[in-house]
């Protein structure tokens, strides 16, 4: 049920992100959703793409430091309390969220939240037990 996120190390300087997006454009890789974490010196670009293996390869071939990170995608209704309903469950189980980002799916009915948990296996188990919709990777890449 886990989703593979592509994490790309970027130096904090003009042209870094442009280079990464250009490589993906030229290789016809579509980005489903993304987030960019930043510090003073560097950033990490986190991507959910349509073709994980290809993105991993072409970015590496172009000199980027890339890793594949297991994350969990959860679908909730796009209304007040949607995210909170997930947080309630995972916090009760003592699961920690390292970071998260979200997007609204095309129909506009639901939001998809991408979580990096400290313990993804346990998080998935708990979420399924509480009837949440956990989106498997294969489905999300073609969303």
């Amino acid at each position: 049920m886990k989703v593979e996120q592509i994490s790309v190390f970027l130096e904090n300087k003009p042209g870094s992100l442009e280079h990464a997006t250009r490589v993906m454009k030229e290789n016809n890789i579509n980005i489903r959703t993304l987030s960019l974490a930043e510090t003073v010196d560097f950033g990490i670009l986190r991507l959910i793409v349509n073709d994980v293996e290809k993105a991993n390869k072409v970015l590496k071939d172009n000199g980027f430091r890339v890793s594949k990170t297991p994350v969990v995608a959860v679908e909730v209704p796009d209304k007040p309390g949607g995210l909170h309903s997930i947080m309630e469950v995972v916090s009760k189980e003592g699961i920690n969220v390292e970071y998260l980002y979200a997007f609204v799916e095309k129909s506009g009915q639901n939001a998809v939240i991408i979580f990096r948990f400290d313990n993804p296996e346990k998080a998935i188990e708990v979420l399924l037990k509480h009837q949440f919709t956990v989106i498997p990777g294969a489905k999300l890449y073609d969303f």
């Binding site: 996120q5 994490s7 190390f9 970027l10 130096e11 870094s16 974490a37 510090t39 010196d41 560097f42 990490i44 986190r46 000199g63 980027f64 430091r65 890339v66 890793s67 594949k68 990170t69 297991p70 390292e98 970071y99 990096r116």
Partner: protein, 432 residues
């Protein structure tokens, strides 16, 4: 003023004779007490008694900093540990540092050398000395301290931190002498000026600076900023510490090498050939009186020139020019000696880090800065994709640099292949 007239003004022929006598004694002693010298003399096919003159010295093999490290920690001591009363060490991780021992008599010799140096700067028992050389394993602080007490001056053992407090003490205690690295002196000026202190109005009249390269322009700047005379003091921890050579107030042209305790040669750093006196080359020092860790033909890596013309101060000892260049890749950062290989050893010691790195040294204001750019390896950018993990690595590098080498570094993680393999690993933007 001269502290030790007899030895400091000794006629050169008498000095040469004294040097030869002391040299023969020390050669016999190291040959029979230090395994390293026996091996190295035997390998060169030379026996101590074959050295009959200073000119014969060229037959003796050199000792290098690598030999000091290879014999870490106590391999070069020529006396039992029970006779050692003090240990100092260079920076560096285990096996990459060098350790320097002192017997009771070595401490006395060293104090005497500093006493001579202070007196050469016109300092007396009526002076108050603000000693901002680092105390501790570094030889600067304690070295100056003992010599200053020896002449009866009042010493403030400031060491090298707490700049604001130093400025307060400079104002309140009214020291007449300051000892520090030249860059720290300029840092005090910057900070003092920012606090609204008129540094020229302090009671300081003379400063003794060393432990890092500084040129005439820096000297002028310090003299003007404090309204003092700024004199150059030379020393290497490996040999004994500060007090091997000192600029005299009367001459203001080069530092007198205390030749009754050291023989100084200049060599061509590439060939090892001894150069005629007066030609620029690498300084090679031999200790004549050191008991604990005598050094025979130690290659300092410092490039300088000897001045043999008589000095108006009356000292007969040869002088050496300011050291502004090195024959190797040693870096001097805020007075601390560091080799790139020591930085590499630290990076290798951090799990998962591949030492593709570049060191950029520059000045921020008066002080040296060290920026370390490290390429992110696959291992450290593993599966979490989290900022936290990378920041942990950055903090670890900063901490290890501080703990082992004693320098504050700024670390920046960079993308792979941004540091060209052909590019220099060190970019030193400082100008002397």
């Amino acid at each position: 003023m001269i502290y030790n007239e007899e030895f400091e003004t000794m006629p050169r022929e008498v000095m040469k004779a004294l040097q030869v006598k002391r040299l023969q004694q020390v050669l016999e002693r190291v040959y029979h007490t230090v395994g390293f010298y026996k091996k190295s003399f035997d390998a060169a096919g030379i026996k101590p008694d074959a050295i009959k003159s200073i000119a014969d010295m060229k037959k003796l093999p050199f000792i290098t900093r690598k030999d000091l490290r290879d014999n870490y920690p106590f391999g070069l001591f020529s006396v039992p540990m029970s006779n050692i009363v003090r240990l100092h060490t260079s920076s560096g991780t285990s096996g990459r540092a060098a350790v320097f021992g002192y017997t009771k008599r070595d401490i006395e010799t060293w104090s005497d050398l500093i006493a001579r140096s202070l007196v050469a700067a016109g300092i007396t028992k009526n002076d108050i000395i603000h000693n901002a050389f680092g105390y501790g394993l570094f030889t600067g602080g304690l070295g100056l301290h003992y010599g200053a007490e020896k002449i009866g001056a009042s010493v403030i053992p400031m060491s090298g931190e707490n700049t604001k407090r130093q400025i307060m003490i400079l104002q309140d205690f009214g020291p007449t002498v300051i000892c520090s690295t030249p860059s720290y002196a300029l840092h005090l000026v910057e900070e003092g000026t920012a606090l609204g202190v008129d540094m020229k109005s302090l009671k300081l009249r003379v400063g003794i600076f060393g432990a890092e390269p500084w040129n005439k322009a820096t000297c002028d700047e310090i003299e003007k900023a404090f309204s003092i005379s700024a004199l150059d003091l030379y020393g290497l921890s490996e040999v004994i510490g500060p007090g091997m050579a000192m600029e005299c107030m009367e001459g203001r042209n080069g530092m007198h090498v205390y030749e009754d305790h050291f023989i100084v040669e200049t060599i061509n750093p590439k060939t090892g050939d001894v150069l005629p006196e007066g030609e620029e080359g690498e300084l090679v020092f031999t200790t004549l009186t050191k008991e604990a860790g005598p050094l025979i033909r130690y290659r300092t890596g410092d490039i300088s020139r000897l001045i043999t013309e008589p000095c108006r101060c009356g000292r007969s000892h040869v002088k050496m020019e300011r050291v502004l260049k090195r024959s190797d890749d040693m870096l001097i950062i805020r007075g601390i000696n560091i080799f790139p290989s020591q930085i590499e050893a630290i990076l290798v010691g951090i799990e998962g880090l591949k030492p593709h790195y570049q060191i950029i040294i520059d000045k921020v204001g008066a002080l040296d800065s060290l920026d370390l750019q490290v390429e992110v390896s696959d291992n450290i950018f593993s599966d979490s994709g989290s900022v936290k993990e990378l920041q942990k690595i950055e903090q670890r590098i900063i901490k290890d640099m501080k703990d082992y080498l004693g320098v504050s570094a700024r670390v920046k993680l960079v993308e792979p292949n941004t540091l060209q393999k052909t590019e220099a690993k060190i970019i030193d933007k400082r100008r002397y």
